[in-house]
Each structure stands twice: as C-alpha cells, then as structure tokens.
C-alpha cells in the first residue's frame, strides 16, 4: 500500500470510530428527551447523568437536564445543571439567561451563586479560549524571534516577537490565575443541613439555601466541607450538593 493511500484510510477509520462512539450517546440523549416529554423526569435525569459520567458532557446535555429538573420542582438541581452548562459553554446566552431567571426564582443574591471571583475569570478565559490564544501568540513570538535571529524577518521582527510574547503571557495569565479558584458546589436540596462533622450523627450547625453555590474546602468520604455565604463552615452530605468543577461522579439521587 502506498503512502498516499494510507492517509484517507486512516481518516476514514477515525471517522468511523468517532461515529460509532457518538451514536449510542446520541440515541440515549434522544431517549432521555423523549422521557422528559412524556413526563418521566427521574428516568430522563438518570440517563442524562449516565451520559455525563460517560464523558458526553455538554451545555446541551445540562440544559435539558435543567429543564427536566425544573419540571420536577427540583430547582436547586436545575440551577446546578445550568451552572454546569455555563461552565462548559460560558458563551451560551440562553443558559446565562436561565441562570438569572432561576436565581431570582430561588430568591438568591448574585453573590450567592458566584462566591469565587476567580471562577468568573476562568469562564471568561474559556469563553474566549484565552488558553489557545496564548499558545498561538507564544508560537508566533518564538517564530518571529527566530526569524529575526536568522535575519529573515522584515524590519521590526523583534518588536513583533516582543509584543506577541507580552500578549501571550497576559492571555495565559487569566486561565492560570483562574486555576487557583477554589472548587465550588451548588446546593440541590432545600434546607440541606450543615453539620459539624463528616458523620450522619453530627450536630447540625445550620442549613444551606437551595441553589446556593458554596466553595468546597475539603472532601471526606460522602461529605464535603464547605463554607456558606455567611462564612459558616461545616460539612454537607454529597447527596445535598453537586460539584460545579467536575461531572457528577455518582448516580444522582433521584
């Protein structure tokens, strides 16, 4: 087989593999949507969760998940799904609009769903792909510098290299700074208790508001140590909150 024939063959194999991998996910997604339309929200949400855990996360998946959760009356879960969708696609205007609507329905202040300012920077970086922009500028600056060194650049090649390097560092600084944001989780249960130890027999020290987003300070088994918007720290059961920085790890409690 000649070298020229290998390229199309490899591309075809990759496409076939990709379509085979995407097919079941699409089918399951449509099945879940049908369940939502028929009113079987719990099963639909279970399938959405299964897809998310399988790596088929997207703003669309979480958007539909949020609609099903809202229809069930689970507004905290719905807000979490929308926030997760916003994490994946910060430019989705419909998601941003529904986050605002649900926030108001849950009577939450804006600060109560955005406790980490650095997370905003992270969404900005993801929305405008500042990481890739930074990489492109870095490559350009190195190339310009190299060309100037080889005397193949037009006049001002070194200036271009310097300017692109500065821009690249600035662009990279945003996602790098955002990576220092504390992970957060959204409360999905009304009146979720905040207890003083990671134990079912611990004393309750307060309650969390449904939909409230709290920074996650520590994890221990099924418990997360969080800080509420009033500054109170305590443990909350994982069934009562959903993390915003990762896909749902366990089967959602439906």
């Amino acid at each position: 087989m000649g070298v020229s024939a290998r390229g199309p063959l490899l591309a075809g194999l990759l496409l076939a593999a990709a379509s085979a991998a995407a097919g079941p996910s699409e089918d399951r997604f449509r099945e879940a949507n049908d369940l939502v339309r028929s009113g079987d929200y719990p099963r639909a949400i279970a399938i959405y969760g299964e897809l998310a855990r399988a790596g088929a996360e997207s703003a669309t998946l979480y958007w539909n998940w949020a609609q099903a959760a809202t229809a069930r009356g689970a507004h905290g879960e719905s807000l979490w799904a929308l926030l997760r969708a916003r994490e994946l696609d910060p430019g989705d205007r419909a998601v941003a609009r529904d986050v605002e609507r649900l926030r108001e329905a849950l009577n939450l202040d804006r600060a109560e769903i955005a406790p980490e300012p650095l997370a905003v920077a992270g969404r900005f970086a993801r929305r405008y792909r500042l990481d890739l922009v930074a990489l492109g500028l870095l490559a350009l600056s190195v190339a310009a510098h190299g060309a100037a060194r080889l005397r193949r650049a037009p006049r001002g090649g070194l200036r271009v290299a310097g300017a692109t390097l500065v821009l690249a560092v600035a662009a990279a600084a945003v996602p790098l700074a955002a990576s220092f944001a504390r992970p957060t989780a959204a409360v999905v249960r009304r009146g979720a208790p905040l207890v003083d130890a990671a134990s079912p027999s611990a004393d309750a020290t307060g309650t969390l508001r449904e939909g409230e987003v709290v920074p996650v300070l520590e994890a221990s088994g099924d418990w997360l140590r969080v800080e509420d918007n009033a500054g109170a720290r305590g443990w909350v059961h994982q069934a009562d909150v959903r993390r915003l920085d990762t896909a749902p790890a366990a089967q959602p409690r439906d």
Binding site: A22, S25, E26, F29, R30, N33, V36, R37, G39, D40, Y41, P42, A56, E57, S58, T60, L61, W63, N64, Q67, A68, T70, A71, R72, G73, H75, S78, L88, D89, R97, D98, R101, L102, A105, L106, R126, R129, D131, L132, A134, L138, A139, S141, H145, G146, L165, A168, A172, P175, L176, S179, R189, P193, S199, P200, S201, A202, D203, A204, R253
Partner: protein, 583 residues
Amino acid sequence: MRRLRGLIAGALLLAASPGGAGGPGETQSPQDRNAQFTLRSEVDAHKIGVQDPLQLTITVEGSNAPDEIPLPPLVNLEVTAGPFQSSQISIVNGRMSQSRTLSYVLQPRAVGKAEIGAVQAGGQSTAPIAVDVVAGAIRPKEPQRQDPFGRDPLGDPFEDMFGARRRGRSETLRVQMEAQPSRSRLHVGEPLVLTYWLYTQASVADLQFKEAPQYAGFWVEDLEREKVSPSGEAASLEGQSYRRFPILRKLLFPTKAGTLTIPASVFRVGIARTSFFDAGGTIERPTKPVTITVDPLPDAPGFSGAVGHFKATASLDRDTVPLGEAATLRFRVEGTGNLKWVDRAPELLVSGAKVFPPQSKSDLRTTESGVSGSRSWEFVVVPETSGAIEIKPMAFSYFDAGAGKIVSSETAPLTLKVAGGTAAAGLPQAPGLSAAARATGALPLRSELDRHAGWAPGPRLLASLVGLALVLHAGLIGLGMRGGGSYGSAHAASSRSVRAALRELERVSREPMTKEQAAALVEKALDEAMGGIADADDSERAGAIRALLDDVRFVRYAPQLGDYSEKLKDLAARAAEAVRRWA
C-alpha cells in the same frame, strides 16, 4: 449561681422547722378535709409604727395548689416590694411535701387601724388580719442588708458571734450526691437516663448547683422527675444507710463514638437547723464523673442515622384525583429512639407525576426510652397523565440496637387513580419554568447532543508551554548576543539615538567646520545609531558601514590638500541613508 430546674428551687426542710414559721401575726388556716392543699397568710407583726415595714407571707402547701394566688385587699397599707416567690420541697419527719411562698413588703399609710383581707385561692380563703398602726417607728432596726429576704427570719441569734465556728457541724453531716446512668455502654444515638440522687441522713433545706453539669458529646433532653414516695426511699451508699431522693433526670443521646465522660457536678446543699443553738449551714457535695462507652454506628447507603425502633407508613389523602389537581402523600415514621435527629425524608419518585419538596411535621415527646412519637413528611403530588399512577414503596432505614444491625422499614405500594381531562390542562406551573416553557407549555429541550468544546490545555500544560516559550526566547537572545552582536548594536539603537544621529549628520552639511570635526561628527553619529560592528559580521549592513567608516577615517586623517567639503557632504548623506536603513 444557678438554681436547679424544676421543682428543686428552694429548701428541703426537715420536720421541726415548720413550727417556727409563725410570727406574731399568724392567722388561722382553714382546713378543708377534702382539700389537697392548705393556704396560710401571715404577717411578722400585729402592731407597728407608721414608719415600719410589715412583711406579709402567703403560703400554699400540698398538691393541686392553684397556680395564681391574688394579693388580698389591703386597708391603710400599700405594697412597697414583692411579690417574692419561692417553691419548696420539704421533708418533714422523713415525708416529702411541696409548698410555695409569696412574700410582700407592706407600708402603712397612716396611724390607725390597718387590715389585710382574706386571701382567696383554689376555693379556700384565709381570715383577715388586723394590724394596729401607731405613730413613729416601734420595731427594732435591723442592719442594712442588700436582700431583705436574704436572712432566715428564724436564724440563729448567736450566729454573728459564733456563726463561722458553729457551721463546722454541717461539714461532718452524711449527705451525698450521685449521678447514676441507666447504662454505661451504648451506641451513638441510643438514649440513656442520667439521674441525680440526693442521699441524706440530715435535714436538707436548700439544694443548688454550684457547677452546672456539662454534657459534651451528648444531645440532652429533660425528663420529668421520677415519682417516688414523699419520704424518699431507703438506700445504701458506701456502707451507710440513707434516704434518697431523685433530684434531676436527663435523657442523653451520645452524638459521637468513643469513651465519653460526664464531669463531676458540684451541688451546694443547705442544711436545716435542728435546734435553737444550731445554725444549720451550707455544704458542697460533688458527684463522681460518669464514663460512658459509645460504640459507632454501622454505615450503609441511605441510612440517615436513626437509632431505635421505627415503623414507616405512607398514605394518600385520596385515592382518585382529577387530572390537574394535586394529591398529598404522607410519609410517616413512628416509634421511639432519636427521632429528633431524623430530618430528611426518603426521595419520592413518582413516574407520571410531579412531586414537590415535602413539608415536615413532628409530634414528639421525651420518655425514658427515647424520643417517642411520629414525624411525617407531606409531599404534594401533581399527576401529569391520567390513569393509574403507581407509587413505589418508600424505605426508612434505622439502626436497631437490640439486633445490632440496620433495619429497613418499607411502606406499602400505593396507587393513585387520575381521572379524565387532558394532559397539562390546568396543571400548576412550577415557579422556575423557563420563559420558553411558560410561553409554549412545552419544555424547551435541545435536540442535538453537541460536543463539549475541543481540546484545551490544562493549567499545568499552559504554564509549561509559557515557560518553554520564555526559555526559547532567552536562548535566541543568548545566541544572538554570542553570534553577531545584533542585539547590542543596531538593534539596540533607540529612535531617539537615530534622530540625534541624523541631526548631527545634517549639521555636517549645513554648518562650517573643519574636516576633522566633520569626520568625527559623522563617525560619532554612526556609532550612536549603529553601534559597534562585530568582526565576524559579514552582512550587507556591516559591510556598508565598514566601508563608510573607512572613508570617513580617510578624510579625517588625510592631509589637508584641498577642499573636502563636498566629500564630507557626500559621506554625511551616505551615513544618513545607512542610519535610516539599518538603525
């Protein structure tokens, strides 16, 4: 100092003391044979000066005493202080009785007759008390005290002289306190009863906490006092015989596993006087620390931490509901244990219906065996389709300490019939539905599962690549510095240097100067704008500048054989062009 909660607020008096309670104005006590309490009113004097205070004491003894005792009508008297109220449990000749006392301080208004009317309470009444009021003050003045009732009116008259020494008798009295747990080993969430007992061989007049008990690691509930004979019960402690009385009972639930210690509580016990020459006194008696071993609870999915014996039931408020209307499903947990800890209901999933978050209700009471009663959660279920909706059994898990395992109590399955109507007609909208859903009645689902945005470098990779790029730049700079000096010469020339060099070159053409001055100026301008040229640099730029400098130096050091002005102008023009091109 804290007083004991409940009924132990005042004195425990032994037999002989009531006899001395009368004063000069003691009134009659009408005794009704059928009554379960007695009522007395007393004054501390029947004849006083108009400037003297008069103390009125109303005492009710026995069970079923009325809660409120009104102030009797007063003639020529007014209340200046009170009422001061105290509750007492008295042990008289080994028998316990309860009493309550209200005291008032009265002041006469004028000389003449005064009267305290009949006290009426609970169907009984006392006789009126007449008091003569004369001019001036006829009662001996007592030393000033902060609390007019702080001193026992029957106090020892020799106390001031011998009081401290005479109190020594109390310290040798056999009075003990004991904190007795109902058990010493249990699981987290299991109840135990902690009873504080008073063991005494003497007359106890008062009992108070000096140091309130601490129950770190326990959830505490108050229990009613154990009902025992008024005379207490015979008991033996450390080889001595006592009468013992339950003072206080607490229901404790350990909240964590391990060895928990309830530290000692110190009681201050007032000893009643037994004779005219006995001052009584106050002694302190601590309980011993109590150590409890608490075993942890097993862990299991869905286990909420309930410990005890419970039964879960579920019911619907109606069997049939029209489509568009709601039914209420009540999930109820009933039993005994740590039911107060259970604050969440199991998830209710009903296919074909919306279920709204539940409201919780409790009907709990504290008993020796734990918190008994029921806790229920009411879910509003709104069917979305007609027909029969099956509600699956709901499970409630709890730890059965007797069996030593987690037990699950399941409710029976329920069926809700949904009659008629068209789906969605009249259905209540959830408050959080999106604008699209509210407008169209349908959920705004997205149909295509888009893929999450492609590859993105993680922060570590991004930081590494930035670092790598900086290293590459540094390497290139290093190479440049070492190889051709291009970073330190022409490339380093600032625009200001270039402009200055061009101005100097213009001066060569414009101003009269010697050829040495002009050549030096051209050479200086080239050096400022272009920097040094490395020997190894064989570029066009380097060659041109070297040739230019050679010409300039030739003119500078050549003998003055003619006019070099044109030559210098030409050199200045060439230098300016080189500067513009390469600097």
